[in-house]
């Protein structure tokens, strides 16, 4: 499997990374240079362990509903780039329809 320019563009879009065209060629060859070594895995017979991968021993620990949160020594406003009336501000979404970008 070789990574194409479109693959890298798509993945960069998913990862919200701006990749300019000069860098794209370079990244395609780098990623292919790395992924070629991963092909060795395809040759390994893993049937035996495939179902054992997530075989659980212990359950994830649970906490009581009453607990108090970890305290913060400095408030959100001390480190957030833009805060107003307690809200964090970002650029307005291009349109309200972008809210469909949110998963259900």
């Amino acid at each position: 499997m070789a990574v194409t320019h479109d693959d890298v563009r798509h993945v960069a879009e998913l990862a919200r990374l701006a990749v300019d065209d000069d860098r794209l060629d370079h990244l395609v060859s780098e990623l292919n240079g790395i992924l070629v070594h991963m092909d060795a895995l395809a040759q390994v017979d893993t049937k035996e362990v495939e179902h054992a991968v997530f075989a659980p021993v212990d359950s994830t620990p649970v906490r009581a509903d009453s607990g108090s949160p970890l305290k913060m020594l400095n408030p959100l406003s001390s480190f957030a780039p833009s805060v107003k009336d307690g809200f964090i501000l970002v650029h307005r979404l291009a349109s309200h329809e972008d809210s469909a970008d949110r998963a259900p």
């Binding site: 997530f54 994830t60 649970v62 009581a64 108090s68 964090i88 650029h91 949110r102």
Partner: protein, 480 residues
């Protein structure tokens, strides 16, 4: 329009906020109404290095809901990360469940005009809520409030088993009532503790395969869901009639305009890259714990209705009204038990009690008149100690003071007066003040009796026992 040649196929995804004190993965308060971002900590702000720890109560409530919906609770379920960017999703992923959900394979019985119908429940899984984005608060900017970020949810996914918007509505109302009875959620669509997305498709009547479905979002009431489904079904039918194909897409319901618009989000732009959440181990449920939760499930609406109809000899409409919420049903049952008069209790609960609750918008649980108090009032009326009219007045005074019925009746001098001397005195006064009417009545003009009783009642301030006044007037007129 040719929608009668097509059949509607609907599946629903319902998100329900669980009623816990703290969030799903951190100790922050899950309450509404705090100042923006007041209920946040390193974990739900996704500060570098902060980790999730699962809330026990969320697991319990989710499991209770899944079991009540007839699901198989899986002994092992796995949390997974659903990766996407949105400014109110602090981690850049939502902790959810994917290929190993909490519970699978349930069903829910709904009422349809054709009788009872079972709707399959595909799965119930746990996840966390995102924060809130306010787009209209500041010009050019979106304001983020993360108080809701990390609040526990369950997602209940149905099979595509519904065939009309009415069935979808019935499913939602039945589901909401069950969740209400389980006390796992406030289940308020207005407050966002219950949210619905619908998958809808149309197919020619008689065809087996499903048509291409679209997803409709952004409905904020059950009737909105029904309207959106009808709108979208009609749109798909028109497309099919033109010989075109329905394309798989997401639509947003606009309740104001009564129409659904195709979202501009590119299909396929969502690739959530699910993988098992490495910060949590799988959730492993102990079989004895599952038994405990199963045993803790209260009587559900369908069973309760059946039992109450038999026990109190009430009609289906009365039962439906009295069982709308578990609190109201409890209130009624306690009143009926204490008063020994189910019929009168039903009338009072459906009348004064519901009117009060609806007017105040608060729960029957916070009503000052408790079932025992109402039962006492019902007994006073039944025993003729207060008139029905006075009873209503006493009820409203009890609402204000919270005092027992008998005391309120006494303090407000609303106990009926059946004492002959007092009654005779008022009758004498009325005869003296209205000699003309009295004379004609005595002379045999019987229809004036009602007028004279009215004068006596008015003079007594409503306290005179009208039955006795009638009797006394008749005996003065010479026994008839």
């Amino acid at each position: 329009m040719s929608s009668d040649r097509y059949e509607m196929v609907v599946g629903l995804e319902v998100h329900v906020q669980l009623k816990t004190k703290s969030k799903a993965f951190c100790g922050c308060s899950a309450d509404f109404g705090a100042a923006p971002n007041a209920n946040t900590c390193p974990t739900c702000l996704a500060l570098p290095g902060a980790l999730p720890v699962l809330n026990e109560k969320a697991v319990e409530l989710a499991s209770r809901a899944a079991l009540a919906l007839g699901c198989k609770l899986n002994r092992v379920s796995v949390f997974a990360r659903k990766n996407y960017f949105y400014p109110d999703l602090p981690k850049g992923y939502q902790i959810s469940q994917f290929d190993q959900p909490l519970a699978t394979n349930g069903s829910l019985k709904i009422e349809t005009p054709e009788g009872e119908k079972a709707i399959g429940i595909t799965r119930v899984h746990m996840e966390e809520d995102a924060g809130k984005s306010l787009h209209d608060r500041y010009p050019g900017e979106t304001a983020i409030d993360l108080n809701r970020s990390g609040v526990p949810l369950i997602e209940i996914v149905s099979e595509p088993d519904m065939r009309s918007s009415d069935e979808a509505g019935s499913y939602l109302r039945t589901l909401r009532q069950i969740l209400h009875y389980l006390r796992v959620s406030d289940v308020s669509m207005e407050e966002g503790s219950l949210r619905v997305d619908a998958n809808v498709s149309a197919r020619p009547v008689g065809q087996k395969e499903l048509g291409t479905k679209t997803e409709v979002k952004n409905m904020n009431s059950f009737s909105g869901v029904e309207k959106a489904l009808d709108f979208e079904f009609a749109r798909q039918c028109a497309i099919l009639d033109r010989g075109e194909k329905v394309s798989q897409q997401t639509l947003l319901w606009d309740a104001g305009k009564g129409e659904a618009r195709v979202s501009r989000t590119k299909e396929g732009s969502h690739d959530y890259r699910y993988f098992p959440e490495p910060d949590l181990l799988p959730l492993v449920l102990d079989p004895s714990w599952i038994n405990e939760i199963t045993a803790s499930i209260p009587e559900l609406p369908a069973d309760r209705k059946k039992r109450m109809a038999e026990e109190y000899k009430l009609g289906p409409e009365e039962i439906d009204q009295l069982t709308v919420t578990p609190s109201l049903a409890d209130y009624f049952e306690n009143t009926a038990r204490d008063s020994g008069d189910p019929k009168a209790s039903a009338n009072w609960v459906m009348g004064e009690v519901l009117a009060t609750v609806n007017a105040s918008g608060s729960s029957v649980d916070s009503l000052k008149v408790r079932p025992a108090d109402l039962a006492q009032l019902i007994k006073l009326v039944r025993d003729g100690l207060v008139s029905h009219a006075a009873g209503k007045k006493i009820f409203s005074l009890m609402l204000e003071s919270g005092k027992p019925a008998a005391q309120v009746a006494h303090d407000a001098a609303l106990l009926q007066v059946g004492d002959e001397t007092a009654l005779a005195g008022w009758i004498d006064e009325v005869i003296a003040e209205h000699p003309e009417e009295a004379k004609r009545y005595m002379a045999g003009e019987k229809k004036l009796q009602g007028v004279l009783v009215g004068f006596v009642m008015k003079k007594s301030g409503g306290k005179a026992d009208p039955k006795r006044v009638n009797q006394l007037l008749m005996s003065r007129a010479g026994g008839g």
